[in-house]
């Protein structure tokens, strides 16, 4: 273990350079923030991830945000275990009928002010699962959504750009 640690000390970081915020995401969250009170979060956002019916592809890529290559914690973005500690709900999947109540309760358990990010094509429009008896619909048919991040699944870099755009807007001083 010592050799591994020592090597890491002298190795250059594997973390990629921060990407700029996504233009589309900036526009979308910009619209959203005109309608809501801005609030200083001290450049940090805490996220609670909710799988409302995804195939787990989105979860894999959201997981990747925490690896050493993307390392979103350097931007003040961290994932929390409880919605009580969250500013943002990051929701994936078409909302299944069996998850609707759980999603509503998770939203209710998140303190205001809060934002909802719908990650992935299913969260935005049900993807290939549209029209099923077991699916309620896209996330915004159950709870209000502030930002959509497209992709099946969205690449980590796109998730990152979207979240940075949200962070920039949400934490801007008025």
């Amino acid at each position: 273990m010592r050799t591994l640690l020592l090597k890491s000390l002298f190795a250059s970081p594997v973390t990629i350079a921060p990407p700029p915020p996504a233009d589309a995401a900036l526009a979308e969250v910009g619209r959203m923030l005109e309608q809501r009170a801005r609030r200083l979060f001290g450049r940090s956002l805490t996220i609670r991830e909710v799988d409302a019916g995804s195939c787990n592809g989105c979860e894999l890529e959201i997981h990747a945000l925490n690896n050493a290559v993307y390392d979103v914690e350097r931007f003040g973005i961290r994932f929390a275990a409880s919605p009580r500690h969250a500013d943002v709900l990051l929701v994936t999947g078409p909302v299944t009928r069996n998850m609707k109540v759980a999603l509503e309760r998770t939203y209710a358990a998140t303190p205001d002010p809060k934002w909802v990010v719908a990650a992935g094509d299913c969260a935005a429009g049900c993807g290939v699962f549209a029209g099923s008896y077991a699916v309620v619909g896209a996330v915004d048919e159950v709870i209000p959504v502030d930002l959509h991040i497209a992709g099946c699944p969205p690449r980590p870099i796109d998730l990152m750009k979207g979240l940075i755009a949200l962070l920039d807007k949400a934490t801007a001083r008025t």
Partner: protein, 508 residues
């Protein structure tokens, strides 16, 4: 007790004409019940159980002296069929799902509770009679009673603490020790069977690839092979090898993720950090070579959608060469860290008897002595003629499931090198013909978590009449309940991660 063999039972029957490769036999209720009984006595492996609109229930099995898996079909009479679960426990949840989806009752079942139907669909038997149903409280569910002194319950989920899929775990603990875990699943049920019925092959392929995103390649592979079996399609050699490349890349990427995550659940973050980088490097190479990090929708009936360039080949080889020595170093660290092994060794033991009875695939079965791997035992291209070692361990604990993954990563890396250094030339896709008649096909593929089964019936016009996907998780989830018994609550994340069952793949 004298046991009838399944092979001798089936030898008296004539298979249905439409079935290709895997024979399908129609049996009456008495014959069905006998097979259930023989399965319960250890006379074969149950590998799938599903129903079809119009009153049929199908059962797929493997047995000694049968060259290929076989499928049995029995008719539903008065909305009932004889329960296999009464003889053979692995069938119970599958029968509960059939009842919820089709409304067919498994007569004599030991468990009459619903499984996928949480009372939220607004319809009963959505793939059967489709009668309107009143919505009921999704939390209303009869967990099995647990009685005893000093017991308390810990409900967990459906929304979990990590970035994972939803499901409910009901622990009954005595102090720190788990007396019983009962799972309740079905939260991510998306109605996939319903979406597949009547779909054209392209649409269906895209849905099957999303049954469980982490094994999208294996699912696409199994779907494509089932269609090819039904329509007698031979896939070009280059396409078959590229499928193997994608399947093994998916396997190592997931195994890296799991090995790291298991260590992380023992708060040993160093290995997690390294494995996270390895996984990321592999996914980046996949993206470069195949245009998608998870390689979704790349395998289709007839071949693959995308050929690989020389640059793509080189990038994958370079990535593997970079990772291999570093992975070996990380594995030495795993092996040399007693504080970590203290958490993984002797934790979450699954008995061999259970993995045999449940025909549990993947690392869950192989870590407990079940020597089965589709790539070797139901061999398919490009694994034919390939010599590789299937790791089988006996300890059955979290540590053994980690080691099975480590050995599989090593085997996959060597397969990948072999294929990529000698890629055959030629086309990567052939056209999918129309049979002009009803056909049936089935295939099993070894996904990273175990065997995936796809069975389908293609209509004369080329659309799918019925498609059934059975993920390995169906036969692994019940064993997680056994693995955690007698362990402390704090070891559950380790046990759970060492299984890494799919919620979406199970809930469909």
């Amino acid at each position: 007790m004298a046991q009838v063999s399944i092979a001798s039972l089936l030898s008296r029957l004539t298979p249905v004409a439409a079935a290709r490769q895997w024979p399908r036999y129609e049996v009456d209720h008495a014959g069905w019940d006998t097979v259930g009984r023989v399965l319960g006595q250890g006379g074969g492996d149950l590998i799938g159980l599903w129903a079809e609109e119009g009153g049929q229930v199908h059962l797929a099995l493997r047995a000694t002296n049968l060259a290929n898996p076989a499928i049995l079909t029995t008719g539903v009479v008065n909305r009932q069929f004889p329960s296999v679960g009464r003889h053979h426990a692995p069938a119970i949840r599958l029968e509960r799902a059939i009842r919820d989806l089709h409304g067919y009752m498994p007569a004599g079942t030991p468990d009459e509770r619903p499984w996928l139907d949480h009372g939220a669909w607004g319809v009963r038997a959505p793939l059967g009679a489709r009668t309107a149903a009143r919505l009921s409280d999704p939390a209303a569910y009869d967990f099995l009673p647990v009685t005893g002194q000093g017991l308390h319950q810990i409900p967990v989920g459906p929304v979990h603490a990590g970035i994972i899929e939803p499901g409910h775990f009901r622990f009954t603990a005595n102090g720190e020790t788990v007396a019983r875990l009962e799972e309740r699943l079905g939260y991510v049920h998306k109605g996939i069977d319903g979406l597949l019925a009547g779909a054209d092959l392209d649409t269906a392929g895209r849905v099957v690839a999303r049954v469980s995103g982490d094994e999208t390649v294996a699912l696409g592979f199994a779907f494509a092979r089932a269609v090819e079996a039904a329509l007698d399609i031979a896939v070009p050699t280059r396409a078959a090898v590229l499928r193997g490349v994608m399947a093994e890349l998916e396997r190592i990427a997931n195994h890296f993720g799991d090995i790291g995550a298991i260590c992380n659940d023992a708060t040993f973050t160093l290995i997690h950090a390294y494995c996270g980088i390895f996984r990321e490097r592999v996914l980046a190479a996949c993206d470069g070579a195949f245009g998608h990090r998870l390689m979704m929708d790349r395998i289709v009936p007839g071949g693959v959608t995308q050929d690989i360039t020389i640059a793509g080949v080189r990038a994958i080889i370079a990535t593997l060469e970079d990772i291999a020595p570093r992975f070996a170093e990380v594995i030495r660290l795993y092996d040399d860290t007693p504080s970590l092994q203290d958490r993984t060794c002797t934790t979450g033991i699954v008995a061999r008897d259970l993995v045999m009875r449940f025909a549990a695939g993947g690392h869950v079965g192989r870590a407990s002595g079940r020597d089965f791997d589709c790539r070797r035992d139901l061999v398919y291209p490009p694994y034919r003629g390939l010599a590789f070692k299937v790791p089988v361990l006996k300890a059955g604990d979290v540590d053994a499931r980690v080691w099975v993954r480590i050995r599989e990563v090593e085997a996959s890396m060597s397969m990948l090198r072999g294929w990529l250094l000698a890629l055959p030339d030629g086309p990567v896709r052939v056209a999918v013909p129309r049979a002009g008649e009803w056909r049936e096909g089935a295939a099993m593929v070894e996904a990273f978590r175990g065997d995936v089964l796809v069975w389908l019936r293609v209509a004369a016009d080329g659309s799918l009449a019925r498609c059934y996907v059975r993920d390995a998780s169906w036969f692994q989830w019940p064993l997680l309940e056994a693995a955690i018994e007698g362990n402390i609550v704090a070891d559950f994340p380790l046990c759970n991660k060492s299984f890494n069952c799919s919620y979406s793949g199970h809930d469909l």
